[in-house]
Amino acid sequence: MPLDAPVLFKRVPTAPWGSANERIYVDYDDYVAQDGYAALDKAVGMSPQDVVAEVKSAELRGRGGAGFPAGMKWSFLPPPDGGPRYLCINADESEPATFKDQILIQFDPHSVIEGIALCMLACELDTAYFYIRGEYHHHREAFERAIAEAYDRGVFGENSRMGKINDRAPNLYLHRGAGAYICGEETALIESLEGKRGWPRIKPPFPAVAGAFARPTIINNVETLANVPHVILHGADAWKARGKGRPDGAPPQVPASFGTKLIGISGPVRRPGVYEEELGVKLTDVIERLGGGPAPGERIKAYFHGGISMGVISQDEAEQGVELDFDIGKKWNNLGLGTACITVIPQRTSMVSMARNCARFYSHESCGQCTHCREGSNWIYKMLSRIEAGDGATRDLDMLLELATSMGSMPGHNICGLSDGTNWAIRTIVNKFFGEFEAAVTSKRTVSLV
């Protein structure tokens, strides 16, 4: 059943409730006129533990890609010991094909700011850093304007309506990144914030114990935080009324996919853009109903369903009923839901070129700390370039799969997840479209077997 009313996009016109052309910056007054900061006022009267408990019982899972429960992350923090505690907001949205957070940052920044304030209140964090990627220029200006409005109206600063948090005046600062994909990894983000190279750290210690400036730190995605005001204002039960719960009879420790999700659609469809739908919606339904179906003259071959690192879904699988929820990885043999921003791959596009594009991305964005990520991604890129140029051999395909598997399937061998992403992207493309690769390396065969 289609979503009856937008939750996260309440103030951002989006089809079918409005047109993307009507989007305007929602300033403080407009935001307050539409329930804005009501959740913050409610939370000021609650104890921090109750706010965390509410988010925990809502089972709000992180929207940045991994789907880690936000409430649980918040409860990992040690109790305040008098020193500063930080919140880092991850707005380094660099996963290829992902463009959902930028809509919130650009048009409804106060929903993010309210979520930030709620998180600071709940976790007793005194300073928040909004780490935005360097390429988001007008988004940065919009967000800086919103921060200034929030200071003027007593959300942050000496006269904050939240009073003192952790014995300090709460502050929110914008920190601009400088074009590095890896800085979206949480510990790399912290390193970058501290003024160093964006090199992920070895964990433990986890950021909740020793993060930014070696102090307890929470890192959340923009969309995750923007959901928090709704959870606090309307309660966990209203939040759990949407989305896909656990199957009947499943015990409560089975993770579920509650709530709505921003879904981006790009590639050759009639109406590309960012939409909101309940988790558990069918992939084909999203493409047909929201995206308007394939563009004239195009036939769909496959999808990147959540940024390239999650792997591909073929059109066959999609027609068998792929649903966008946090279980997608287990059911359809890929890494997970990711950012739920879908790229449609048409028939005319070669999967070899897609794999080559992904490999180039990873070899370019690998930070270079772990050998098999630095060397492996570059090696895969060179092999795929060679195959694409028509100079491949059958043994290259085995080598490709072996390389990809050994890059990302050995837990504990990598500092971060970038090489896992390489593995899943390359391996799912090669496995699911093996015929195309075979045809590319066999000069006599020119027809794809898929």
Binding site: A178, A180, G264
Partner: protein, 174 residues
């Protein structure tokens, strides 16, 4: 070469008498940023952005001055600067064109956009025109996939580009 930090062989590090970071710039910067971070080293990215905003790139002398200003070794700041793609350690053109080359744009014919820019400017990606007017860069996903193929021209985003648009966009630059 950016990595050479002192005169060596025939390579000369360019220096000038006038400092890149004037006292006014330092004061304004301190007022705006210093209270935000618990350590001065965390000012690295903001100060590098500040220098690049004023000069278009990061001259070595400016990195030295900035390092003294944020109380770290010049090598540390240089190390940080080399990691990030947005920082230029060599002079670039007055304008910079960044053409996105990630999956959505490639599917939507980014190749033709790149070809059009290449033809119009007569340079390859990574190069600057001889008159120093435009630098042409290819870049990974710039987060505007709904409007693929897209390009950033300085700080302005151009979406749904067609090869025919390219000449107009480039001609509009001063």
């Amino acid at each position: 070469m950016a990595w050479i930090t002192k005169n060596s062989g025939s390579t000369q590090i360019e220096r000038r008498d006038e400092p890149y970071l004037s006292d006014e710039v330092k004061d304004a910067f301190n007022k705006r940023y210093a209270h935000r971070y618990p350590s001065r080293a965390a000012l690295a990215l903001p100060i590098l952005h500040e220098i690049q905003h004023h000069h278009g790139w990061l001259p070595f002398q400016a990195i030295e001055e900035a390092a003294a200003f944020i109380e770290v070794e010049p090598s540390v700041l240089l190390d940080t600067a080399t990691f990030y793609e947005e920082f230029f350690l060599e002079p670039r053109g007055k304008h910079t064109v960044w053409v996105c080359q990630s999956v959505s744009c490639e599917i939507m014919n980014e190749g033709k956009i790149t070809e059009a820019v290449r033809e119009k400017l007569g340079i390859e990606p990574g190069e600057t025109t001889d008159d120093g007017r435009v630098t042409f860069m290819k870049v990974e996903c710039i987060g505007a996939c709904g409007g693929a193929p897209c390009a950033l021209v300085n700080e302005t985003l151009h979406e749904n580009l067609s090869p025919d648009d390219v000449a107009g966009v480039l001609d509009a630059l001063e």
